[in-house]
């Protein structure tokens, strides 16, 4: 029977489709522990009561959980090049769904009395992919933080490079890195918060370049996609592969912080790193 051929691990389900079901169904299944959860039980935090997995959030919803004191910056930073077939429509749809002008929301925020430059990526905006404007907004955030001597907190959520923008998307990894290098040389703190999912070019650049790297429980974090690796190796990967817990064990994360505790813990980290 088929059931005996499977590995001892739980089968992976596509967390994207489950996340998209949230508004409709009364009951939803957690993509990590597969527990059925009554929708009201998830609350505004959208955290699985069983395994503490944080369901994917839109940037504006996440912002509401962090602070009420936020000034958005650089709303229109550059002109988009949308000559790729079908790209302009895709962008327009993403903008309407997320109420954002790009896959990242940037601004100056006060979180638990700490003034920070805050960036939040949105996986509902073309999978949080890294376009030229995304890169420009994040680089600008670091530049402003350098000028105003502010720490940067960046929530990452991305599938990686934006295919429709080709090589320019790849160059964003270097562009943001340049801004981070300047910010770092000014002796300022950068904390990245890796949320589900942080993969590809974003993981292989600014997500991993922070002074302190934290993640939400069970967040998918990796460079190469699961399917690509399975095709290369011709073997099934375990369920916890590329999850935050495994990354912490292998030494790539400073801490895993549950969603309700993020504002206070992040503010504490900012205070602890203040240069007197």
């Amino acid at each position: 029977m088929k059931i005996f051929n499977k590995e001892h691990t739980l089968p992976q389900r596509d967390s994207k489709s489950i996340n998209e079901q949230i508004p409709d169904g009364m009951w939803i299944a957690c993509p990590i522990c597969h527990q059925s959860i009554y929708r009201n039980e998830l609350g505004t935090l959208k955290v699985c009561p069983e395994c503490k997995y944080g369901f994917r959030l839109k940037a504006r919803n996440r912002l509401a959980l962090l602070t009420t004191n936020f000034t958005e910056i650089n709303k229109d930073i550059m002109v988009e090049k949308t000559d790729f077939p079908g790209y302009a429509d895709k962008l327009q749809r993403a903008k309407t769904t997320t109420q954002l002008n790009e896959s990242v929301l940037t601004g100056i925020a006060i979180i638990d009395e700490q003034k920070v430059a805050l960036g939040i990526m949105d996986s509902y905006f073309i999978m949080g992919s890294l376009g030229a404007k995304t890169g420009a907004k994040i680089a600008k955030l670091f530049d402003i933080a350098t000028e105003q001597h502010l720490p940067v907190i960046l929530f990452t959520a991305s599938g990686g490079a934006r295919m429709q923008e080709g090589i320019n998307s790849l160059m964003q990894m270097a562009k943001v890195s340049a801004a981070i290098a300047r910010h770092s040389e000014a002796g300022l703190l950068y904390i990245s918060v890796l949320t589900d999912p942080t993969t590809g070019g974003v993981m292989a650049s600014f997500a991993m370049q922070a002074d302190i790297i934290v993640a939400e429980p069970h967040a998918l974090i990796g460079f190469a996609g699961r399917r690509v690796i399975e095709q290369t190796l011709h073997e099934k990967l375990p369920a916890d592969f590329q999850r935050a817990e495994l990354l912490q064990t292998s030494g790539f994360l400073d801490a895993i912080i549950q969603r309700p505790e993020l504002p206070t813990k992040l503010a504490l980290l900012v205070r602890l790193n203040e240069v007197k």
Binding site: A161, M171, L246
Partner: protein, 260 residues
Amino acid sequence: MKIFKKELSPEQIVKLARVDRFTAQQLIDGIVDDFFELHGDRQNNDDCAIIGGLGYLAGRPVTVIAIDKGITFQEKVQKHNGSPLPSGYRKAQRLMQQAAKFNRPIITLINTPGAYPGKEAEELGQGQAIAESILQSMSLTVPIIAIIYGEGGSGGALALATADQVWMFEHSTYSVLSPEGFAAILWKDASRSDEAAQLLGLTPAELLNKGIIEKIVPEHKKVERLFEWLKQALVTELAQLMEQSSQELVENRRERFCKF
């Protein structure tokens, strides 16, 4: 462009870029004298997909870091067909820091389909290794010139191409993803790779136009002529870059990437 004998289509260039026309060792020997290879990442491994070492470029000591695909079956297996492991990038970082210490320019030679996508590579921090290479290159106080001599695939190539100048061989490619991967993601159909190759804009001519690269290295049937051209170009450009102060170098390199 006129200088080329025959205009090739993007998909033809993709095919040519994947032919093993040069090994890294051959290129290194063609450019520098007295090459001395330095092994290991000083942590736990020596990734043979990356060959690093020292040599004289027309009398000036330089650090060379090259990705090699290998020729024989056994080499290809060991080098993962030019897909570096995290330890490969960490070896490169070590050699870059060493070059900065001794004020030696760095030449990187790139030919990779991308960083190796394996279970262990992920667990050992493939993404972190690439991220660190890019970040360190942004603060290096010596000139870096990157030369793509075959495939320049994705973040795995960018990790060694965060440079003051990026050059490409006439029959080479540089792209965000392979045409196959690109077609698989966008259209869920890897067989439409020829179409993808046209859309990706991965040819040297297109990339030169966009300002992503600075030079196209003309290829000759006689490799000696190619090496001679390359050596001469490197000597000239490095001499100019060495005239800049280390602060200017770093600022200009960051500025180079800020325009994209």
